[in-house]
Amino acid sequence: MTARVVMDAAEADRALQRMAHEVLEANGGVDGLVILGIPTRGVPLAERLAAAIERVEGVPVPVGQIDITMYRDDLRRHPTKALGPTRIPVELERHVVVLVDDVLFSGRTVAAALDALKDIGRPRAVQLAVLVDRGHRQLPIRADWVGKDLPTAADEHVAVALAEVDGETAVTISRPGTEGIS
């Protein structure tokens, strides 16, 4: 496996720290904000972002998660997937949603998340924060806040590992080869 680390745990922390400031600056504080992670790794990232925001402002910001399995456009291409939990801690109507995911790639996950949100309520606005933007969008979607812009080839594999899920935090990029991809 020729995996190269492009972001270590400290860099990820600094990126989230900066994104927290950016979110606060753009929204003028935590008032009316809700952070929603997209499972699996968007959820711990959402919690980290919310914690970083709280460290800056001293006020907790509501965190939840939104599962997009039932909104995927490729459901029938895969074996049936188990559902993840959807937990929305606030009335969406009066809130600005910050969606959080680990990697922004084709944009299809985010499109599915927007569809899912629409069925739950009508937020005032939806913003997108991702740890890594690796390009190759297939839909007109962009992130408002990006931890790291990572130019990649379409056939490269970007993996985000988080301490909460994987035991350690690192973003790695690997080339497809005979050894296969993780």
Binding site: D67, M70, Y71, L75, R76, R77, H78, P79, T80, K81, A82, L83, G84, P85, T86, D115, D119, I120, G121
Partner: protein
Amino acid sequence: MKHLLSINDLDLTGATTILDDAEEFSEVQQRDIKKLPTLRGRTVVNLFFEDSTRTRSSFEIAGKWLSADVINMSAKGSSTSKGESLRDTAMTVAAMGVDALVIRHSASGAPSQVAGWVDCGVVNAGDGMHEHPTQALLDAFTLRRHLRRVHGPDASFAGCRVAIIGDLTHSRVVRSNVLLLNLLGAEVTLVAPRTLMPSGVDAWPVTIADDVDDVLPEMDAVMLLRVQRERMSGGFFPTPREYTIGYGMTRDRLQMLRPEAAIMHPGPMNRGLEISSDAADGAASRILEQVAAGVAVRMSVLYQVLGGNQEGER
């Protein structure tokens, strides 16, 4: 999962996934917009050769909330009453391009036979005296919620004791429930007059008891099954009154239950026969929760049958 014909089609992981997903679907039930796009463009036909308002409507709602097109067909007024065979009826419906058939039939094994004839998915919605897997799943779902309320969110079925009391011979619910509860790790005790015990019950993974009063104080949950009116003239027990005295969940028996025990009944109930109104409407009753769980569990089953690529290729 291509079909759900019997609880035997499920392993522990499969059954747990259905229950876990049903929790998520029941959250959707609380929303203003109770609609998911998951099965858009899929067609589900409810093929009911036997009346069942409750099961049919809950499959119908489940399919519609997943955005499937749901069509109800009943045997009455259909070609079946004109003498068409089960095979021809099933093949005809399947030939219209249906993605799943939900079948209720008075003959045990009918859904399994149909599954062998057609290419689409088949869900058993109750066949004769054989099985009713979605009922067992919704009972388990309701029971798991109850256990989690009582013992905390990590409560499991391990060590949970469940009594099933009633007409066990003619019940398809009991078979599915015994299989599923056993798979999940619960201990099942069956109580019924010997005349209403299914044949071959000795080989089932259950404890058999004769005296309800001995069993009740031990149980975490009691499932009462309907004593079918049409059986009363069959000589299975002397009179309805004697059945109630021997096996009914009367007000007095209610006092014998542990305070946290649950009372369940798949419906329709014969109040005053196998269950008193005190039991059916009391604090221990989970009967209405069972009905509500029916939709979420059937959404979960339809999602398993139709949601993914059934060939298993990626």
